[in-house]
Assembly symmetry: C2
Homo-oligomer: 340 residues x 2
Amino acid sequence: MPNATIKDVAKEAQVSTATVSRVLNDNYFVSPELKQKVMDAIEKLNYYPNSVARSLKNESTQTIGLIVSDISNSFFTIVNRSVEDIVKPRDYNLIVCSTDNQKDKEYSYLQLLLEKKVDGIILNTTGYNYDFVASVSQHLPIVLCGRKIENPFFKGDFVDSDNQTGSYKLTRHTIELGHRKIGIIGGQQSISSGTERLEGFRHAMATIDIKVDASYPYQFVGDYNRAQSGYEGARYLMSLQDPPTAILAMNNELAIGALRYFRTHGIEVPDQVSFACYGNIRNSDLFYVQPDTVDMDPRVIGSKAGEMLIERIEYKNQLPNRELRFTPGLVKGNTLKRIV
Amino acid sequence: MPNATIKDVAKEAQVSTATVSRVLNDNYFVSPELKQKVMDAIEKLNYYPNSVARSLKNESTQTIGLIVSDISNSFFTIVNRSVEDIVKPRDYNLIVCSTDNQKDKEYSYLQLLLEKKVDGIILNTTGYNYDFVASVSQHLPIVLCGRKIENPFFKGDFVDSDNQTGSYKLTRHTIELGHRKIGIIGGQQSISSGTERLEGFRHAMATIDIKVDASYPYQFVGDYNRAQSGYEGARYLMSLQDPPTAILAMNNELAIGALRYFRTHGIEVPDQVSFACYGNIRNSDLFYVQPDTVDMDPRVIGSKAGEMLIERIEYKNQLPNRELRFTPGLVKGNTLKRIV
DNA sequence: CAATCTTAAGTATACGTTTACTTAAAACTG
DNA sequence: CAGTTTTAAGTAAACGTATACTTAAGATTG
């Protein structure tokens, strides 16, 4: 037996479908007797509503898309969970998508969510589809998470840590510990956090008159989503003729790769090289060293993104663009050492 | 301007909606001229199909529900990703739900996915809603993941590591290293993997004539989803008058908690107590010790679950119940030490 | 108490698709 | 070439719900 529909319930209760619908939605007066009859019929037929039909009629799916570079990155894992915790009580669900930072995948997921008529999207964009994202944003509530979009026509919100300040703080701190040859393993420059963190680094280095440009020797551009690329960055920097005395990894994945390189190659941290990174690393309290980090809580970012998106949905996207930046602090570890 | 519909396209191309639909689905001959006109109209109006309407008509949403205890547990994070990678090419999407192992949450998510008319569910069940799950399984393809269901009427598949064997192997190995006082931090007994792993432990202990029952002193029942509970387990066991010489944690979260306890309380592993756990721990190669583990790859489990579910969907749930068990091996670390 | 207002419930349409059924014209056939 | 078959395209119904509109009966009014 296929599922009962509202018609079956109506027939069973000897009322019209309108009455059944009214009982279900409790948005119109129905006499107690009929209400009871409907309830009984629902019970008897084991009826439950069909959301698809409801969505078609209501033009709202109560579904939110979450597009991130990689849901198995522990940062996004927590973001995912935090968003879920925020939206579930408001009766929203999450469709989760990983782009692997590929333009095509992001594009096709956006298209798909559009077709699925999601009510809104939380997007950690690749940065490559800015025009398309901007165009989608005209009609669909979007909160960008961690990565800004270039297009001035973009409509929506943005949540992130204050990358430039965080990176500046971290670099300044490293400088104050006496370091001058400071290596950086950065992320893609197509991504706002990639450029902003580099910018913070650059500004801090400028305070000691070191110019960070194409000729800066201690720079490696990695991929935020591949720990392996942090590994390669560490190898590159440590293989230089005159290696840096400190290395800063610009996100958690890169940091994991770098630490892996150090460990597997017997490079003592911080005795042989100091180290720090942007962003907390899950369970790093159990690591063989405790990296000094720029604190960035995915929980807060996820919750805020969820809240902002729901607001935007409720206001039918009729809100000014908003930007929320969390100013990060430094968390002391034992991988940054003063040098003389 | 709201989105164009198939009617708008039909009008623009001066054909019927049927023709447009046929062009879209490419499932019926349409003359090249008309086809071109339709394509042009689609292009011009920036039309894309409405999945909700399509789903209503087709009775298929191309959506799969993934219900797990906690999506931020690194094991499920990887499962999630693996499932996504399997189902995406088949045009399925994932709605992800975390139950926190609570009966009510699982129930309401199941109900919700039912209403959303998902095409199938991958379920890491709490174990509490077995009757409901069994009843849902009659009509909707379900693949259980990691936790079996009691009800004999359940219809569907089951994927897991071979818990009993894995746990037996691990315990036997520990015994062979000379341990006799072996502590176990287990999971909920409402969960099949909880009981099975305990059972493997029990069998192995029986080989040295130690009976593991309610009176067994070195047992702590924890919560698979809370590392904190592994911490408490380790504290409990190490605080005993005559503490165990080895402790086995029955999943990755419990293991993390236990290691945390050891580390923060200066308990040397393996000198003061040996340790091992069931299931890989993410990035444990960077930990201060490398736990000996029973290998369990979430990638394989996720992929298989995805594949089996899709098969089950394609065969309209007309398949015998299947059970897939991965026989796990031991991975050597440095936390298990021979004692004399 | 006739005229008007209120209201509980029903009728029927719409949401955007897909497709069974229909139709008209073209292509065969003997 | 009249009769039959094929076929490209159109018409209209259906998926399950929500609700604007309608209706009939009861309540209210002067």
